[in-house]
């Protein structure tokens, strides 16, 4: 009799354990698979979901974007920390690559390699990729950095501890400690301007229209049409950050 009781309770235990394990795995698989494929787009379709396009062919390396960004967002010019900056890549005939970014490009570029040694050269403007699955947001221990409903990665300056964990986590090197405020700082896609109906400062001043931003949800927006017609790439796609900064004509030398 006693033996029978033990047997039945063991069977019950195994059964419930199996159901629990199965349900957990099933739930995580269902939740995980959509998460991996699409990123965490919010449901509300009325809210825009911002993406950015940078056309490398059009960038002439004037540094207006980097200079205007600092002025718009009250980041001191020195020390040289940047919300956005420009890099000049020079590929030489022997295959070596020289990457320069003197003062982030604010004071302009000078080509130091003689013309007959250059195989090809180009500028790459860099800024926050506003990832849909941003590593910086995931590592923040207090929830001071977050993805806004518009798909912009923002910082809560009052809540940030200044622990620098996000600076290490960002694979694009887009974060720094603000030299005055002593908390993390980064590109906000000029969230305060977007909310006032203005364009981000870097897009406002770009003389060649190399930068573009827009609502990825609106399938007739300029940016979506551009993405349709061009072969664009994101930086470090292998890291699956869900980057929303798309580069047109991105060369393989770019890191």
């Amino acid at each position: 009799m006693e033996r029978e009781e033990i047997k039945s309770s063991r069977r019950k235990f195994l059964k419930s354990a199996a159901i629990l394990t199965g349900a957990t795995i099933g739930y995580s698989w269902l939740k995980g698979s959509t998460f991996l494929l699409h990123g965490a787009e919010p449901e509300d379709k009325a809210v825009p979901w911002y993406g950015i396009v940078i056309d490398i062919e059009k960038c002439i390396g004037c540094g207006s974007c980097a200079a205007s960004c600092k002025q718009e967002n009250d980041v001191p010019k020195e020390p040289f920390f940047f919300r956005n900056w420009v890099e000049m890549y020079t590929v030489k005939n022997d295959g070596s690559v020289e990457i320069q970014s003197p003062n982030g490009g604010i004071d302009g570029f000078k080509q130091t390699v003689p013309d007959d040694e250059i195989f090809k050269a180009f500028f790459v403007p860099k800024m926050c990729n506003h990832c849909a699955k941003s590593p910086c947001e995931q590592v923040c221990p207090v929830g001071a950095t977050y993805l806004s409903p518009e798909g912009v990665v923002l910082i809560d300056e009052k809540y940030c501890l200044g622990c620098r964990y996000c600076i290490q986590a960002c694979p694009y090197g887009c974060r720094f400690i603000h030299p005055v405020k002593k908390v993390a700082n980064k590109c906000t896609l000029c969230y305060h301007r977007l909310k006032k109906g203005l364009d981000p400062a870097c897009m406002e001043v770009c003389p060649t229209g190399a930068r573009m931003y827009g609502n990825l949800r609106d399938k007739n927006s300029k940016i979506v049409l551009f993405l349709k017609e061009h072969t664009t790439q994101v930086l470090r796609a292998n890291l699956n950050t869900g980057s929303k900064l798309h580069y047109n004509e991105l060369r393989s030398e770019v890191r």
Partner: protein
């Protein structure tokens, strides 16, 4: 079948319940009011970020007063360049109408930022000159009007 709970576990459950409720009470007082409103962050921070002051006005605001420049600029190559690309942030100038509050760039170095020959610049996008061999004793604006650079000044 009777579910048997050992007495030492009962005491442990009580201790757990006390700790968890203590944690919840402390959390209630330390958590900011809007935390978790939209997600794992302070909801009020969205408005705080949106309320930051702007410094760049946008080109249409400039043309409200400088109609003559708009007419001049739209005829030539610099038509696609917005005012604040060269003149810097303009909101302060719009509020004060003071010439001191706006930048008037000058010097060959400034034009060189875009127009100095550089293998990295696309010739189809921007006109380039090697400024080291182009009227080195003169300032660019002595010959070129920056608002319509292709029409030489008399």
């Amino acid at each position: 079948m009777k579910f048997y709970i050992p007495p030492q576990l009962k005491r442990l459950f009580v201790a757990f319940a006390i700790f968890i409720s203590l944690f919840l009470v402390v959390r209630h007082f330390l958590r900011p009011a809007t935390f978790g409103q939209y997600g794992h962050y302070r909801g009020a921070s969205l408005e705080e970020n949106a309320a930051l002051p702007a410094h760049y006005a946008g080109q249409s605001a400039c043309f409200d007063c400088h109609q003559d420049i708009e007419d001049m600029k739209k005829l030539d190559k610099h038509s696609s360049i917005h005012c604040e690309t060269c003149h810097g942030p303009g909101l302060k100038h719009i509020e004060s109408s003071d010439a001191k509050d706006i930048v008037k760039p000058a010097g060959r170095e400034f034009c060189a930022k875009c127009h100095q020959t550089n293998a990295a610049r696309n010739l189809k996008v921007v006109f380039q000159r090697n400024l080291a061999g182009h009227n080195t004793d003169k300032n660019c604006t002595e010959c070129h009007n920056p608002h319509k650079p292709w029409k030489e000044k008399k």
